[in-house]
């Protein structure tokens, strides 16, 4: 199965990611894929399914179980002409690689005045909503977004998963690619060769005039559902999907908020010192005079990710989003 220019296929996000890896491996002989269980098994989420069979052990291989080693070896391979795409098995299991990511992946270009660049992708199945037990559901984006030198990307649709992963692999800079686990099985018609906005661009997923919901990754479908419910109640909500946390698209986000004058940020991760706090700060600094109400946030609580039976309390749901929208001082209008 090879892509033709106008091929339309119905794909889950998992299949779209697999397709992106396959097409990148086929297009560029310097791309290599490795990590834990990515070979014969195809990864615990099957994102690398069939890649070893199709491209051989040198292009897609299992490694020892050592995340720092995986990322550190990828740094060396990237230094020496390859484009590694590594998989961390779960969000909370990427932490052993944190030092490599922060001290080397993020800084190599700077330390060498641009002579050594690291075109590499760190794929991380991420966030909650799949009934996972402890250490399997962390929203870790703030750690990476806080570190200068990394791009941080979180797709919310199969089409974006395909396009953004291909772009991430082609990027001259390291990209932390956050794959919302609970969206792996979401499905849509994908036009593989369709031009989509690149890394660093947010998109308006739904037009609306009364308030703007700002979401990324796993909360985009929540925001869209909230907007659909609100529409039945006579309120028109706009939905912005960030797609890329770093670089951050101030332009699109601020234009959206200025157009409605009200905003709610919806994110799964704990709210304190988070990407959602950053968004509120940035938008307030830039759009204060367009705002009719303080920006509200609907985020996870500041607690360790709860067990499966309690996770629905932690995850931003449609009702909480609509309650936050109700709080946006409508009487002032």
């Amino acid at each position: 199965m090879t892509a033709t220019a106008t091929e339309h296929v119905k794909l889950t996000m998992a299949q779209a990611l697999n397709r992106a890896l396959r097409d990148s491996l086929a297009a560029d002989p310097t791309v290599v894929v490795f990590g834990e269980d990515v070979g014969a098994l195809g990864g615990v989420f099957r994102i690398t399914d069939g890649l070893t069979a199709e491209f051989g052990e040198d292009r897609c291989f299992d490694t020892p179980l050592a995340e720092s080693g995986i990322v550190g070896v990828a740094v060396g391979m990237a230094m020496n002409g390859l484009r590694p795409v590594v998989e961390m098995q779960f969000d909370a299991f990427a932490y052993p690689a944190f030092e490599q990511i922060v001290s080397h992946v993020a800084k190599m270009r700077n330390r060498t005045r641009g002579r050594v660049t690291l075109p590499m992708v760190i794929r991380i199945p991420y966030a909650g909503g799949i009934g996972g037990v402890e250490h399997h559901c962390d929203s870790s984006e703030a750690y990476y977004a806080h570190t200068p030198g990394l791009h941080v990307v979180a797709p919310a649709t199969p089409a974006d998963a395909y396009a953004l992963l291909r772009e991430a692999i082609a990027s001259p800079d390291p990209v932390v690619f956050l794959e919302p686990k609970k969206l792996y099985w979401s499905k849509e018609e994908v036009e593989l060769a369709a031009p989509v906005p690149g890394i660093g661009r947010a998109v308006v997923r739904r037009e609306g005039t009364d308030a703007t919901l700002i979401a990324y990754g796993p909360t985009v479908p929540v925001a869209l559902e909230a907007a659909a419910v609100a529409a039945q109640e006579g309120r028109s909500l706009q939905v912005v999907d960030l797609r890329s946390i770093v670089p951050f698209d101030d332009e699109t986000v601020c234009a959206a908020v200025r157009s409605t004058g009200r905003a709610v940020v919806v994110a799964e991760s704990s709210g304190f010192a988070s990407v959602s706090s950053e968004i509120v700060a940035r938008v307030t600094e830039r759009c204060f005079h367009s705002l009719h109400a303080p920006i509200r946030r609907v985020t996870g609580f500041d607690i360790p990710y709860p067990p499966p039976k309690l996770e629905h309390f932690q995850l931003p749901g449609v009702d909480r989003v609509l309650d936050a929208v109700d709080d946006l001082q409508w009487e002032d209008r």
């Binding site: 290599v32 040198d58 490694t63 020892p64 050592a66 720092s68 080693g69 990322v71 550190g72 070896v73 990828a74 740094v75 060396g76 391979m77 990237a78 230094m79 020496n80 002409g81 390859l82 590694p84 052993p96 030092e99 490599q100 001290s103 080397h104 190599m108 270009r109 700077n110 330390r111 060498t112 005045r113 641009g114 002579r115 050594v116 660049t117 200068p148 030198g149 791009h151 990027s171 001259p172 800079d173 660093g200 770093v246 670089p247 951050f248 101030d250 332009e251």
Partner: protein, 364 residues
């Protein structure tokens, strides 16, 4: 898997080919390197010592922010560079400036970071020397990656990956050895055991019989070598490089040496070790030992030695000149090289600093 680990074991004592008295030991397992290699090595040792002492002096004059000297460890530094070819890579630590210079890096460039600039000072691809790593052992997995990439392309590259005794306790040391073994990556892990990690002695670092034994658990052969005997280092490291190049996989070499000076100028070594301990290592000095050996065999004379000293002096003068000028890191450059293309946010921040600089300039 086989249970026999015998071939992975290091020799019971560190390999020595030229003793403290300058006499060949007649070790049956290893040949003494060629005379020309030894003479070349002595010249490099003399330059290395001069470079160490010059850099140390520059710290006292405020010309360098800090210098972790390899004074006393020069044989390790020289051998690490001398056994490599131009295709090979060196991954140094902060203490391995001399080894980087041995690969051809300009010492002024190699010392840029220690002078207080924000970048590593040299182009790592020019001489295939990675930027020196400060977070301990983190460079070792990179070395494995460089080696594996070369191997995938069928290139003959071997990678020399350096660290200290303290570094062997870090997780990345273990992960790197394990990856290298599983991938059969052509890496020589070279540990300079200088007895101390800042103030912490080896006994607090490990309960292993030797650091070279640490390879066994990963299926990596280990060897121990007298780190103040250039002949032994050239033989043992050279054999490891050849084995790796021929597809034999990684090896772990532990050199027994001693840090003759404090960890850096900021350290007070009298707080954790006695002067007589240091004095005992003076007689094992790598330069006197090799010089004695070569003199006794008539391979060097006073005139030649004077020539080596003059070359070393020229390099020291070059370093003094190069580091004499104050660096003035350009604040506008702080925003370059974060990404291939600056983000909109970095553009804004760079503009803010540029504006501050303009206003400062206007005031002057």
């Amino acid at each position: 898997m086989t249970g026999d680990a015998h071939h992975l074991l290091p020799s019971p004592e560190p390999v020595t080919l030229i003793g403290v008295d300058g006499q060949a030991t007649g070790d049956p397992g290893h040949a003494v390197p060629d005379d020309t290699e030894l003479v070349r090595g002595l010249a490099a040792l003399i330059t290395a010592r001069r470079l160490n002492d010059q850099a140390y002096a520059l710290v006292r004059q405020g010309r360098l922010a800090v210098y972790p000297s390899s004074h006393g460890q020069e044989a390790c530094q020289v051998a690490a560079a001398q056994v490599l070819t131009g295709d090979d890579w060196l991954f140094p630590t902060y203490r391995d400036t001399v080894a980087a210079v041995g690969r051809g890096v300009d010492p002024v460039e190699a010392l840029t970071l220690l002078k207080g600039d924000w970048h590593c000072g040299y182009d790592p691809y020019d001489h295939k020397v990675a930027p020196h790593a400060t977070p301990l052992a983190t460079q070792l997995p990179h070395a494995v990656g460089v080696a594996h990439a070369a191997r995938l392309r069928g290139e003959p590259t071997v990678v020399m990956a350096m660290c200290g005794d303290g570094g062997t306790s870090e997780g990345d040391f273990h992960e790197a050895l394990n990856f290298a073994a599983v991938l059969k990556a052509p890496v020589v892990f070279f540990v300079q055991n200088n007895e101390y990690a800042i103030s912490v002695p080896l006994a607090r670092q490990t309960a292993a019989p030797s650091l070279a034994h640490k390879g066994i658990g990963y299926g990596v052969p280990g060897e121990r070598v007298d780190g103040n005997d250039l002949a032994a280092l050239l033989a043992v490291l050279g054999a490891a490089v050849e084995r790796a190049r021929a597809g034999g996989g990684p090896q772990l070499i532990e050199a027994h040496t001693y840090r003759m000076q404090a960890h850096t100028n900021a350290d007070d070594a009298t707080r954790y070790r006695k002067d007589d301990e240091v004095a005992a290592w003076v007689e094992r000095d790598p330069i006197t030992r090799l010089e004695r050996h070569l003199r006794e065999r008539g391979l060097v004379d006073d005139e030649q030695l004077a020539g080596f000293a003059a070359t070393a002096e020229q390099l020291a003068a070059h370093v003094r000149d190069g580091l004499h000028r104050d660096i003035e890191p350009d604040p506008a450059k702080l925003f370059d090289h974060i990404y291939a293309e600056p983000t909109p946010q970095l553009r804004e921040q760079a503009a803010l600093v540029a504006d501050e600089l303009d206003r400062e300039g206007a005031l002057r």
